[in-house]
């Protein structure tokens, strides 16, 4: 976990001082590779197909709860910040997916809120990297929920190391469902 945070920090530092464009294709390739390897891991588990079927209702309920929990609690922070309930709620709607939500909110509402959303989602990912190992000791699904939409790719590796195979499956499913919901939710809030 220290390794992971160091990677991010090192990346940020390098990004500050080096002018270099990293190709989107490389990132896409890495994501595909990671998910592929975890897929093999899960596929080689005993009785995994049956366990997948069993987990579908869990994935759905989990996703609904992550959306509800995120939006409600984030909206409530409007008490502490200058934002309205709708603005604060909307800023959290990316559930970790910083690139899309930042851009969408900038276009549909305001670049300022877009920047807040972008930064907030990055922070969510970084905090999740730090805390998922600890959350996992209390609740595996709780740990998975922290990652939000990123549970299917960037944080899937970390989740697979800190939770059981069924929870890792749920993580992937959660990521897929949330990723599909993010553009929808943002459109509903700011449309």
């Amino acid at each position: 976990m220290i390794l992971l945070i160091s990677s991010v920090v090192l990346g940020i530092v390098c990004g500050r001082f080096v002018s270099f464009q990293i190709s989107d294709n490389i990132i896409t390739f890495l994501l595909m590779l990671l998910v592929f390897v975890v897929g093999i891991d899960i596929g080689s588990e005993e009785g995994i197909l049956k366990r997948m079927k069993v987990n579908i209702p869990i994935i759905i309920i989990q996703s609904v709860l992550v959306i509800a929990g995120t939006l409600l609690f984030a909206g409530a922070t409007s008490i502490f910040t200058g934002f309205s309930f709708k603005e604060a709620m909307g800023a959290s709607a990316g559930m970790g997916w910083y690139s899309l939500s930042g851009v969408m909110i900038s276009e549909m509402y305001s670049p300022f809120l877009g920047a807040v959303s972008f930064t907030s989602n990055i922070i969510r990912e970084v905090i999740s990297i730090l805390l998922i190992p600890f959350f996992a000791k209390v609740s595996q699904l709780g740990a998975v929920s922290s990652a939000g939409a990123t549970s299917m790719d960037t944080l899937l590796g970390l989740i697979s190391k800190n939770t059981d195979k069924d929870s890792t499956l749920v993580a992937f499913g959660q990521g897929v469902i949330l990723s599909m919901c993010v553009p929808l939710i943002i459109s509903l809030i700011f449309g």
Binding site: L34, F36, G39, G43, T119, G157, S179
Partner: protein, 96 residues
């Protein structure tokens, strides 16, 4: 959305290959850790290269942090409660 589909396909292909049980040798190499490290480095790099973001950071930092913490808290609280109920329910079913 295209990337979503690519990732889905990669995952499914991985599972299918895993089902054949012929690729267990891959587990020896810490592939997941290595790839995750590279990915996070790249993510950090993209953040670091964003000069506009750094300039605005003092302004938006606090709100962004609070919103992120709240989002995580809400997610974790709701799903942990669900997790406990789910496990209790499954325990009961097992013992019936």
């Amino acid at each position: 959305m295209g990337i979503l589909i690519l990732i889905l396909i990669s995952f499914v292909v991985g599972i299918l290959l895993g089902l054949t049980r012929k690729f267990e040798f891959l587990k020896k190499y810490k592939l997941v850790t290595i790839i995750t490290v590279i990915l996070l480095f790249v993510m950090g790099f993209e953040i670091g290269s964003d000069n506009e973001l750094f300039e605005k950071l003092p302004e938006i930092g606090f709100s962004a942090l609070v919103i992120a913490l709240a989002g995580i808290l809400g997610s974790v609280v709701f799903t942990s409660i669900f997790d406990k109920f789910k496990n209790k329910y499954l325990e009961k079913k097992k013992n019936q």
